[in-house]
């Protein structure tokens, strides 16, 4: 036999089939789960589809904001919680000045941006001091920032920071209320144009919001082909070599975090304009966790993530959200089961991803050692 053909055959067989299957296995498992859950939930298809589309529109932006730090080799940026806070600060700001409608929303975006840049910069500085431990550091930073956030809005609001609008502050005049009504900007983005197909009266598609997400995906693709994107990829692969090539590694990493934080701020604004009320002390808390879980369910890993994975993951994760209460009810006679299940899934999938990551990097070391 032609010897080259033999070699080709070896190659094809060994073409890291394992790796390939591995990447797909997580999404496949979740597609399976969704299928089973959907079956037992006995919910009408159009209803589920409608809900999923709404959630896809409001959550994807946040999930996609995680991608750039992954490219820059910093893992999953749980620090997007700070971005979410920046978004909320901006929303509180417009609520205070009673700014409404699309204009109000745009002002929120404008206000949140500089705040998020500052937050991102600070997070970036800290993460540069903790190279190799970015994920846990960013998670702790999120908790720490949450403390500060509470301090500011519980103690400083009304005392140091004056508030204009009635009803925002607690009756004591100190501290912000538990929830802020965002009626002024509710659906400001979603309602610009909603498509309602005649054939399915239950279905409403927030076209503009989806377009914004699509635009983000396009921009992201464009970004990876820019000079800065290339630098981030280089830094992500090997900081030392990047530095020797003259790339300012620390600055590049800070840029990655800043971009991620700003996107998260915008993402949180998009999210909350759909929800309509801001839970002052709670809305941001789960943002990091759920976004990370969504991304991972889409098949991304700690070192590789694309917007397609983000979209797929968001879709699957929220599909589970929608169907699991009913499925739980029908199978176990307890709709709470579904709630447990989705929290379990969120934490479980993150734990699994981190474990796999640890294994993989250990495996790499091992094979080097033995050679």
């Amino acid at each position: 036999m032609d010897s080259n053909a033999v070699l080709q055959k070896i190659k094809d067989r060994n073409q890291s089939f394992g790796e390939w299957a591995f990447k797909l296995i997580v999404p496949i498992v979740f597609i399976g789960l969704c299928g089973i859950g959907y079956h037992f939930s006995e919910l009408p298809f159009i209803f589920v589809l409608n809900e999923v589309i709404i959630r896809l529109a409001r959550n994807s932006f946040l999930v996609i904001s995680l991608i750039i730090p992954v490219i820059a080799g910093m893992g999953l940026n749980f620090g997007i919680v700070l971005g979410a806070m920046a978004g909320q600060i901006a929303l509180i700001f417009i609520a205070n000045y009673s700014l409404e409608g699309l204009g109000g929303l745009l002002i929120a975006v404008l206000v949140s941006t500089p705040v998020a840049i500052v937050f991102g910069y600070l997070v970036g500085l800290v993460l540069n001091k903790a190279k190799g431990k970015e994920m846990i550091t960013s998670m702790i930073l999120g908790f720490f920032a949450n403390g500060l956030y509470q301090l500011v809005f519980l103690l400083f609001a009304g005392t140091i920071i004056p508030f204009k609008k009635e009803g925002l502050l607690l009756s004591t005049g100190v501290g912000l209320r538990n929830s802020v009504d965002l009626a002024g900007v509710r659906y400001a983005l979603d309602d610009i144009y909603k498509y309602r197909p005649d054939a399915f009266p239950m279905l409403t598609i927030p076209v503009v919001t989806l377009l914004v997400v699509a635009l983000l995906c396009v921009t992201l693709t464009f970004f990876t082909k820019t000079k800065l994107g290339q630098e981030m990829r280089a830094v992500g692969q090997n900081m030392h070599i990047a530095q020797v090539a003259g790339i300012n590694v620390d600055r590049t990493r800070i840029m990655a975090v800043i971009i991620s934080t700003v996107l998260a701020a915008w993402g949180q604004i998009i999210f909350l304009q759909n929800i309509g009320t801001l839970n002052t002390y709670g809305s941001h808390e789960q943002v990091g966790l759920f976004a990370v879980a969504s991304l991972l369910i889409g098949g991304a890993s700690v070192s590789k993530a694309t917007y397609k994975q983000a979209l797929l993951g968001t879709f699957l994760f929220h599909m589970l959200f929608i169907i699991s209460p009913m499925a739980g009810q029908n199978i176990m006679n307890d709709s709470q089961i579904g709630e447990f299940f989705r929290v379990f899934v969120a934490y479980g999938v993150i734990g699994l991803a981190l474990l796999l990551h640890a294994w993989q990097s250990k495996g790499k070391k091992q094979s080097l050692k033995s050679s």
């Binding site: 070699l7 070896i10 050679s371």
Partner: protein, 531 residues
């Protein structure tokens, strides 16, 4: 101030935590000059080059004294970026390529060709789009200059080491403002034919007016290529001489500072007619890029030293890598008549094989661990050596490890401050010796060594080869040694197998004539006999 010198290294000293590794080094280089820098492993060559290139290891460890002067101006670069802007290029002793990037992306790393777009006009040049087409063209051009035919969009991961080296050179020559090019042991990873090609390129670059600083342990090549030579010993310049006044022997003595006995071991060979095979390869295919093995058959006698030779790219490197299961392999490998599972490095190690890879720069040391742990780690994992039982729990026997490490350090002359030193802090050559020590610690029946003496200085070379012969004689260890240096193979082997186009071309006795070796390596041996 004007000067005829392009680069002046003026009275440079460097300390690593109290350990003075450079002492008042002064070197002057003119444009277009090829300047050789030689010295034993650990003499301070790489350290000096790191200073020149503004590497962070230097500045994170307290900087240095003295001045780097370019075109008469004191520059003292603090970052690689500054050095690059000054026109200094460098091919480092360890690889500086990003494995996940293509060849072109590596060549153009941080010097990408970009074009404007809407965003870059608003947000600045960082947002410019990469012009992949132009980058590819530049990359192609640089590769062509080096006579490299590989696809410029191939990923770097998985390329053979020699190719990677040329990619690094391509990256350097693609820099337009290049004035001074530093090569830290560029040929250590190249096969002989590649090295020849490389030397021609160096000459061409020098003729273009680029000054070249060239570090190598291959003294004949230093003599061949350089105009002037600086000899370092223990961080001091012991001699600065014109190449025309030098010869290999003289330089070697200057380096080591004592008389060298150049006689390499003459083996006394007993002509045993052995049918006792320890290892049999049948119809072996190894898919190692650039070193493919195609249907190779070879039998290895128990207790012999078998040399594997051949020209670069013909597949000799692939043989050992295939046996160890490091690249996709098919065929049959019998060890003591029992089939060895393919593609499973762990199984190969378990069955008593040990391997010292040719890939010196990705040596696979745990750089942030001590010398003694690096030496012991494989044996600990594979052979359960160095374990003691404490209340039924297996514990590392630190004392035994220390003892063994000290022996190895002495035996292989590893230049270090002690067994606890981190391997990151060792010079390149001494890191290699640690690798060899680690393989030998496995007490293998068969040790496969690929290019064991590359990057090792003349004195240490002899030590390594002597040790292999000693292990073979005293412990009966079977040694399979792959090398591009025929002289080295002939000095230690019992038989030499020549690989051509991935197949076994023939087996020769070490004292066979040069003509036979030449014919075999060119694949002409068999043909002549037939016709």
């Amino acid at each position: 101030m004007t000067t005829e010198y392009l680069l002046q290294i003026d009275n440079v000293s460097k300390e690593y935590s109290g350990n003075r590794v450079l002492k008042g080094v002064t070197i002057n280089i003119k444009p277009g000059e090829v300047h050789g820098l030689v010295g034993e492993n650990g003499a301070g060559k790489s350290t000096l080059m790191n200073i020149l290139f503004g590497m962070s290891v230097i500045h994170d460890t307290g900087g240095y004294e003295g001045n780097i002067i370019i075109d008469g101006n004191i520059v003292n670069p603090k970052t690689p970026k500054e050095s690059m802007e000054l026109g200094i290029g460098m091919v480092h002793q360890e690889f500086m390529l990003i494995p996940g990037f293509s060849v072109t992306e590596n060549i153009k790393l941080n010097r990408e060709v970009t074009k404007d777009n809407l965003f870059s006009r608003i947000l600045g040049p960082k947002m410019k789009t990469l012009d992949f087409k132009k980058m590819g063209k530049d990359g192609r051009e640089a590769l062509d200059k080096l006579g490299m035919s590989i696809d410029e969009w191939m990923p770097v991961a998985g390329l053979p080491v020699g190719y990677m080296q040329f990619v690094e050179i391509a990256r350097e020559i693609d820099k337009e403002n290049l004035k001074l090019l530093v090569f830290d042991e560029p040929t250590a990873v190249l096969a002989e034919s590649e090295a020849d090609r490389f030397l021609k390129i160096v000459r061409k670059l020098a003729d273009l007016g680029i000054a070249i600083l060239f570090i190598s342990h291959r003294l004949d090549e230093i003599i061949e290529i350089t105009d002037n030579i600086t000899v370092l010993r223990d961080g001091e310049v012991v001699s600065n001489l014109a190449t025309k006044d030098a010869d290999v022997h003289k330089i070697a003595e200057l380096m080591v500072g004592r008389k060298l006995e150049q006689t390499i071991i003459k083996k006394t060979r007993d002509e045993r007619e052995k049918e006792d095979y320890i290892l049999e390869l049948e119809d072996l295919y190894v898919d190692m890029p650039g070193e493919k093995v195609k249907a190779l058959n070879l039998k290895v006698h128990r207790g012999e030293i078998l040399g594997i030779g051949g020209l670069g790219g013909q597949g000799k490197i692939g043989v050992a890598n295939g046996i160890m299961g490091l690249y996709p392999t098919t065929g049959k490998i019998l060890k003591n008549g029992i089939p060895l599972p393919l593609n499973q490095p762990k199984k190969a190690l378990d069955s008593g094989l040990a391997f010292v890879t040719e890939d010196r720069r990705g040596v696979g040391l745990l750089l942030d661990d001590s010398i003694e742990h690096n030496i012991a780690i494989s044996a600990l994992q594979i052979k359960n050596k160095f374990l003691k039982k404490l209340a039924n729990i297996n514990m590392m026997n630190e004392k035994e490890i220390r003892q063994h490490a000290l022996e190895m350090i002495k035996e292989l002359d590893i230049r270090c401050t002690g067994p606890k030193q981190l391997t990151r802090r060792l010079s390149g050559g001494n890191q290699q010796k640690v690798c060899i020590a680690r393989a030998l610690t496995l007490d293998p029946d068969i040790v496969l060594v690929s290019e064991p003496t590359r990057g090792i200085d003349v004195g240490a070379k002899k030590i390594v080869l002597d040790l292999l012969v000693k292990l073979n004689k005293e412990l009966g260890m079977t040694v399979i040694i792959t090398s591009s240096e025929l002289a080295e193979l002939r000095s230690v082997s019992d038989r030499i197998a020549i690989v051509f186009e991935g197949k076994l071309e023939g087996v020769l006795a070490p004292d066979a004539s040069d003509v036979d070796f030449g014919l075999m390596m060119a694949g002409e041996y068999g043909k002549e006999e037939v016709s």
